[in-house]
Amino acid sequence: MKKSKSLSLLKYFKKHLIAGPIFKSFEVIFELIIPFIVSDVINIGIVNNDVFFIVTRCILIISLGILGLTSTLVCQYFASIASQGYGTLLRDKIFEHSNNLSLRQINSFSKGYIQTLITNDSIYMQNAVAVGIRLLIRAPFLVLGAMICSFIINYIVGFIFLGLTIIISIILYFIISYASKRYLIIQKQLDHLSNNVSDNLKGSRVIRAFNYQDEEVVRFKKESNDYKKKVLSVEKFNSFINPLTFGIINVGIVLILYFTSFYPGFFNLNGGEIVALINYLNQILVALLVVSNLVVIFNKAFASKKRLDDFLNEQNEIKSGNLNKINEDSLNCLEFNNVCFSFNDGKKNVLNNLNFKLEKGKSLGIIGTTGSGKTSIVNLILRLYNTSNGKINFFGNNLNDYNIDYLKNLISYSPQKSLLYKGTIKSNMLIAKKDASDEEIINALKLANAYEFVMKYDDGINHQVEENGTNFSGGQKQRLSLARSLLKDSKLLIIDDSFSVLDYLSEKTIRKNIEELQRNCNLSTIIISQRISSLKDLDAIMVIDDGEIQAIGNNDELLKISPLYKQIYDIQTKDM
């Protein structure tokens, strides 16, 4: 069996996990002793009219109470440290892991799933730990103590109690195991709701434009009703727990009363003993009920543990190499040899037998239809995915041999979707270069034609960026994202369709700046675009169609040899 990664984090809290229950058990022991003292007060103190005895015993009870309170608080302290600490470590670990896995793996889990792990599942786990330390030890201890005491009073009754406890435990077990299966389903439905809400929030504008709010609400109500039904179908069973335990325990009481009255010799119990036994039975009842109420918490935690382990046990499929040095003499920045790539191993190839070179300091354009595999090429270079076949060389060495962190420091990338982080413009720029000076940042912003709008802010590059850059327009985001990629000191610059929402004038300026940068820094560049105008001045252009290279050449060559290129060219330049 695979080791549970989620549970293994508990090892940091061994001390708390052991000390907590120990202190809790002190309290339980005191609690079990008190009834004995009480019966002494009644049987010895009152019967002998011994006031001194009565008063001292009462003081003893209160002292035990104080001791019990103190040790409980110590236990609670340990429990809070261990459970909250555990939850914190768990979240850190999930988050870290989400940064480690490949993009394919993240997408196969879905972002919603990972987000739920962080916000919900970790909480369920930490609740279970807290409750485990605080209460789980208490219940069995009380049952055991009550059982021992009843054996002392009468061993036959003791066995009856044992039998009853076992019956109740079995019933509890069945209800619990049924419920825990159902909880997985319920959790899934909750994920579903969560996706639904998140979709709705993202689409608020479109939904209103279609005046579909009411339909959305109706749809959601149906989903939430499903959720309610699923929860209630478990509650139908859970609701049995309290009445059944109550019933069984009381049947025990009836049995004792019945046998003592109709078969006096069988138990041979006096009134005081019967009272004591009934008390113990009730104690067992209370303890078992505590356990059953905890079941919900543990069920949830159990379901969460499974989800957590599924995620945490996923090994990163992208393996880093050790190479920390490029071959400076290599003439080629990049070399693809028979590279194939498919998302689900074996099925349809997204990229098929790609062969091309990018010389050092040169530029390469990639053009092709939507879904032809352009972005996949970039994902392979960035090692976001693994090639299914073939080899990629980067500055003379196999791409896979490089240490990934080192490799990524050499490549600068501007993605299709402009992604910004909450913070300031400056903090978003510093991602590309930790120690960049304000001048460098401003220079990069100028290169990306972004400084003209940044400049207008009173706080300039210290202007706030809201989450996901929602306070900027699409074009502004794209410029900032481009500026970030231009700030980074790299050997290879990849621009993935990042001019798409820019106007032609801005694009032209930026393109010229990049060209200059390329010449001055001996930078190699890959530019993916839908626009011929963005690519036609590059050293070489690659036409991709359905995962295959249809043609490579410069603009003039392609107009002669590539019908697809010609067709795009005509479309984009007609009506001139």
Binding site: I34, V38, I42, G45, I46, G65, Q76, Q84, T88, R91, N99, L103, N107, K111, T119, N120, A130, V197, S198, D199, N200, S204, R205, V206, R208, A209, F210, F220, K228, V231, L232, N238, N242, F246, G247, N250, V251, I253, V254, L257, P264, G271, V275, I367, T369, T370, G371, L382, K408, Y413, Y421, F453, E467, G474, Q476, R479, V501, D503, Q530, I568
Partner: protein, 584 residues
């Protein structure tokens, strides 16, 4: 509206259920409390039997009593089961109402209010906070209901048995409640902090998951991890305190009840030992009586202990309730307008419109234009010049500060905004694909279920080809991160607009990110679709712009040029430059 009245509003429809549950609780709690009394009687009979001659008659009484207990057990099992289940039903119904209403609210709030809050936090309220309320209620509600009833019943019994001891017990109760309240109030601060910290953490991780590709390509993971851990540590700090201090309540309550118990024992013992002194008060107490009182003292304390044990959940629930309440009491989008168009949008007029997001920097500055039925306006301009804002204003997502927007000569704000929007199809820069099948995504907003019409729309949008190549064709489940390219997602959004077939179309950068071949086809499809329709287009591709009746060039929210293509080319201004840049 006060919170109390707010809650009352939610409970009202469930009032019958609540009464039924109360009734069940009274009956089964009383039944369960009667059982010890009867068994106490049986014990007395058993004692009596040892010294009595008429064993048979006593045995008959005993068997009658036992039979009665058995009946009570069966009776209370059934009622308690119903109580438990109906309580869950009540809680789930209540919580569902909260959840539904919150969702409805998200669809009713002004876009401005949604934009100003972060989505991760809103999601957290809808999912986690509602779950917290449910958890708190399930534990708390049952205990509370059951508890109050048994407290009342036991108090009556105790008072009947011995009023002095009963008074002692009852007098100490307020103390334990006060101390619980005191502790709860103290840690409320930490619960609030905890809720806001976890909100922050949640949006941080959501943002990070969305930006994963940058994390990875910029070696930004360590920085993100570090900052996540920092936020997480803050959550730990207040979480640990909240948990620790709130767990004081239960042991403290139990301790106080222990003291009460001890008081009863001491006082009871004195009553027996110095019985003469108490006779004057009309009080006598036997050993058996004291034992019974002690049992009741314990039962009396039990609900207090139980309720205090659920205090952490209750406080969590309360903090969460406040977060839900905060949203639910926000005002809906103002939709004062009652007027209906009763016709297509024949004329759209903007008159000296001013707008600013922050009352400070004008985004739109005294903008005016006319758009008549069947015309197309293209808006051109640099990034940030206010193009998208114009759409926000025309759609009524944001309110203008000065000027007028007139639709068919009616003020936009006097119209029923929902009905007005129905006339418009919008394709936005940020594609919106929800979790569902391709078919559902295309049919969204048009109530059309005829598969042929859906496929036809997809064909017009040039999306049919790639859709058929998906795993399950039109029934493939998709979402915004299911591996579709941005271009493909955009084609689906276009198909959605085509299927709706409105008379007014707004396109915001709709053709970006689609490859030239597809764009060419889509442009043609649009031209067909836009024919005889009114449209506002924000696009950078000249073929779309060129065919417009009016082109507006915008800079810093002001019109710097306008006219048709030929006029603007003659003008040799910004548009001329822009036009030429494409072919240089």
């Amino acid at each position: 509206m006060s919170k109390f009245r707010f809650i009352l509003k939610y409970i009202k429809p469930l009032i019958f259920l609540l009464v039924a549950i109360l009734f069940l609780a009274i009956v089964f709690v009383v039944a369960q409390l009667v059982i010890p009394i009867i068994s106490g009687n049986i014990i007395d009979y058993i004692e009596e039997m040892a010294t009595s001659d008429s064993i048979d008659t006593i045995l008959t009484t005993i068997s009658q009593n036992i039979l009665f207990i058995v009946l009570l057990i069966v009776f209370s099992i059934i009622l308690q089961y119903l109580f438990e289940f109906l309580s869950s039903y009540f809680v789930q119904s209540l919580v569902k109402k909260f959840r539904d209403d919150l969702y409805t609210k998200y669809n009713k709030l002004a876009i401005k209010d949604l934009d100003s809050r972060n989505k991760g936090d809103l999601l957290l309220r809808e999912i986690n906070d509602i779950e917290n309320i449910s958890n708190g209620l399930i534990g708390g509600f049952k205990q509370f209901y059951q508890g109050i009833i048994s407290i009342i019943v036991i108090f009556v019994i105790m008072f009947y048995l011995n009023w002095l001891l009963a008074m002692v017990i009852v007098l100490i109760t307020p103390l334990s409640i006060y101390i619980s309240y005191f502790i709860a109030k103290k840690c409320n601060k930490y619960f609030k902090l905890q809720a806001s910290s976890s909100g922050k953490l949640s949006s941080f991780s959501l943002e990070s998951l969305n930006n994963l590709i940058i994390n990875k390509t910029y070696n930004f993971e360590d920085n993100r991890n570090f900052n996540f851990q920092k936020l997480d540590k803050e959550l730990y700090k207040c979480g640990q305190k909240a948990q620790f201090y709130s767990t004081w309540i239960n042991p403290t309550t139990r301790f106080l009840n222990n003291i009460t118990y001890c008081f009863v024992l001491l006082l009871g013992a004195f009553m027996i030992v110095y019985s003469d002194a108490f006779i004057g008060l009309g009080l006598t107490l036997s050993v058996g009586g004291l034992q019974a009182l002690l049992v009741y003292a314990n039962s009396y304390a039990k609900p207090f202990n139980d309720i205090s044990a659920t205090v952490t959940e209750l406080q969590n629930a309360f903090a969460s309730f406040n977060r839900v309440y905060e949203i639910l009491t926000l005002d809906d989008e103002v939709n004062n307008g009652k007027e209906l168009l009763n016709d297509d949008i024949n004329e759209l007029v903007l008159k000296n419109v001013d707008f600013s997001y922050d009352q400070n920097k004008k985004i739109i500055d005294s903008l005016s234009f006319n758009l008549n039925k069947g015309q197309r306006i293209s808006i051109v301009g640099k990034t940030g010049c206010g193009k998208t804002t114009i759409i926000n204003l025309i759609m009524g997502f944001y309110k203008i500060q000065n000027g007028e927007i007139l639709i068919n000569n009616k003020n936009l704000y006097s119209l029923n905004i929902d009905k007005f929007r129905e006339n418009i199809a919008m394709v936005l820069q940020d594609t919106w694909i929800f979790n569902g099948t391709v078919k559902e995504n295309i049919a969204f907003g048009s109530d059309i279920i005829d598969e042929n019409l859906i496929i036809e729309a997809a064909k017009k949008a040039q999306a049919d080809n790639f859709i058929r190549n998906l795993k399950n064709g039109y029934d493939t489940l998709i979402s915004d991160n299911s591996g579709l390219s941005i271009g493909e997602m955009q084609l689906i959004c276009i198909a959605r607009a085509i299927l709706k077939n409105p008379n007014f179309v707004i396109l915001d950068e709709a053709t970006s990110n689609i490859d030239a071949l597809t764009e060419d086809k889509v442009t043609k499809a649009f031209d067909k679709l836009l024919k005889h329709k009114t449209s506002i287009v924000i696009a950078h591709r000249l073929p779309t712009i060129k065919n417009s009746d009016l082109i507006i060039v915008l800079d810093s929210g002001k019109i710097i040029e306008s006219g048709n293509h030929e006029q603007l080319i003659k003008n040799k201004g910004y548009y001329y430059q822009l036009y030429n840049s494409q072919y240089e």
